[in-house]
Assembly symmetry: none
């Protein structure tokens, strides 16, 4: 009985979240209204405020998930490809959600971007940061830069590319360009030792 009620609540919560995402995809953030969201979700305004303390709280839950990559990729193709794959997955996510949504998500005001605020796992970085440090200690990645700085560099590359993609209204091949830039960058920081294990002319398909 109690469980049933709880489940119903969770359902409503999800309905609201979904409606919000949908509307953001369709109309953008500017015109996102609590009322509209509720109408789309088939739920009353009151319910909204039962589950979320404010409109902003809802927004902060919008996510562009990056799930753990297949661990086997790491073993088979190496860290470089693993990192590339992680970010390409994120790019694919963006393409999937569309320019409208991404334009709103890719906003410095979106606190999901602040590395200090975001919860673990919500962004690729945390998934490979430790691996990078380990690779450095094994002499497979140069130690010119600390691991966290490399992470920031890669992130800047990805963010910059997505941003430009948005600005150009989607008329631009983000995927190829980002992949190329990531590879170019990564090849300068991985060592010969690494490339002996995983030769350079490999590639990875993510479709």
């Amino acid at each position: 009985m109690n469980d049933a009620k709880e489940k119903r609540g969770l359902d409503t919560r999800r309905k609201i979240l979904d409606a919000g995402t949908q509307l953001m995809k369709e109309q953008g953030f500017e015109s996102l209204t609590v009322r509209k969201i509720c109408e789309r979700a088939g739920v009353s305004v009151g319910s909204f405020y039962h589950f979320f303390n404010s409109k902003d709280e809802l927004f902060s839950e919008f996510q562009m998930h990056t799930d753990q990559q297949d661990q086997s990729l790491l073993e088979k193709k190496g860290l470089l490809e693993y990192i590339v794959a992680l970010y390409l997955q994120h790019i694919d996510n963006c393409c999937d959600m569309g320019v409208e949504f991404t334009s709103n998500y890719y906003n410095p005001r979106n606190k999901a971007f602040n590395i200090h605020t975001r919860r673990p796992g919500s962004y690729p970085a945390s998934l490979y940061g430790p691996l990078l440090a380990k690779a450095q200690s094994q002499g497979e990645v140069k130690t010119l830069l600390p691991a966290y700085a490399i992470v920031e560099d890669l992130r800047a590359i990805v963010v910059g590319n997505v941003f430009i993609w948005c600005s150009s209204d989607g008329m631009w091949d983000v995927r190829s360009n980002t992949e190329r830039m990531l590879r170019t960058y990564l090849q300068t920081i991985f060592t010969e030792k690494y490339f002996q294990r995983f030769p350079k002319n490999q590639s990875v398909g993510t479709d």
Copy 2:
């Protein structure tokens, strides 16, 4: 006597523009109100609409100028340093305007970012694109990528860095990081021929 009136009008217009910029620096775009702007400018709401057709029109006039760099730099230190200096100037601009302003400026929705829309001279890229092409034809820059693609790459790096700086609420050294990334990237695309004329261990001070 016509001149006097015209001058007065231009003054008012400028007062409004300045007040808008100020408020944006202080409070951000979200809370930018026509009334607030007018109060700050010491001007009536009616005057606002005498000079601007809408609030949006005002926004579209906000500019982050990038003036031509000192031409002598190009000759003395070479194209690589010239490009770095151009972008660092932009970064300095951003720091100058503050996180609030830049966060709003750095928004995919801001059409000032769309390379297809923006007017010539409003962004560094257009200032060195042709120089890059010329350098390629002279064998000083690798031809692996066409000039325009290099421009996009550099832009992605800068945009990404500024974006992250905004997201982190300014708690991050954009300048150094961007400079480092730009140099790393540029060193992979300039040829030995270029570096014979302009050895690598030069640096440029822009303060």
Copy 3:
């Protein structure tokens, strides 16, 4: 408990409608303001927009009802008197609502006047049109003009009179004049056969 809420809503809606009618009577349409209406209704502006999508939508609900005439009149005094009574009822309505209100209602822009748009029953015409056609087929009304044209003629007479009444700021006896004109007109279209059943020197009191 759902019912209670619904009833409350309907109440508010009515309060707004009433306040609007009142203010229109007192001050005319020109100075009809959403805020004023809400103040008078003792209701917030938000509530107004909860029930009406716009100010115009409210206006379109203002009605000058013409209820069905007592059916017995038709049988006792005949169609001619019935028609006269219907229109006099409308005139009385106008006098009741006052010059201000009527001036605004009597505006070609008020689509309530467009015979093609208006809903059945909202204007006297539809109440006797069919009766007129029937009377023609029974030889009690001349067939020189089709029924619908007669309806338009009568309507023109009434509209014209009310219009003049409005223009003269109410300083004019609409009622008598309209009645006289209607009778004059109707006596030229009804046949002898009709007047044998219902002799001419009858009259009807509607006070």
Copy 4:
């Protein structure tokens, strides 16, 4: 020198008046703005207020002129035809100005309609009122109604018809209908004596 200045002033005045009429024809009264009028007239706002004390004053000058009919018509075809011709001329005026303009002109609020306010010659009535009284004294028009009442009746017929024409967005043959109603009415008030001079089956072309 002085004359030249005065003429220039009159020109400006006329330009404003014309621009106002034009705009009213095109866009209706609702959206009539002093600024728009001035722009159309190619004149400054200041000039407007030099010639008119207020926007309303301009409006009150808008006219739908009815010029004196050809006097010969009166002699050749008689008073009945003369009156019909006068009103048909007004109808033609309305058609000419279009539904937009007329809808705004035909507004009880337009004081041009108030018989007490309007200046002599601005409406057909004054052109034939005295003639009607004279005809009564000569036994050519029935004396059941005083002349002024007949005038009001005719006016009501015309106003009613134009009003309906406006409400129907011009989809209605005002001219024929008004003519028919006027003739029907007039034939009931002119005497046999008149019709001996001017037999009934005459007609008048006004194109």
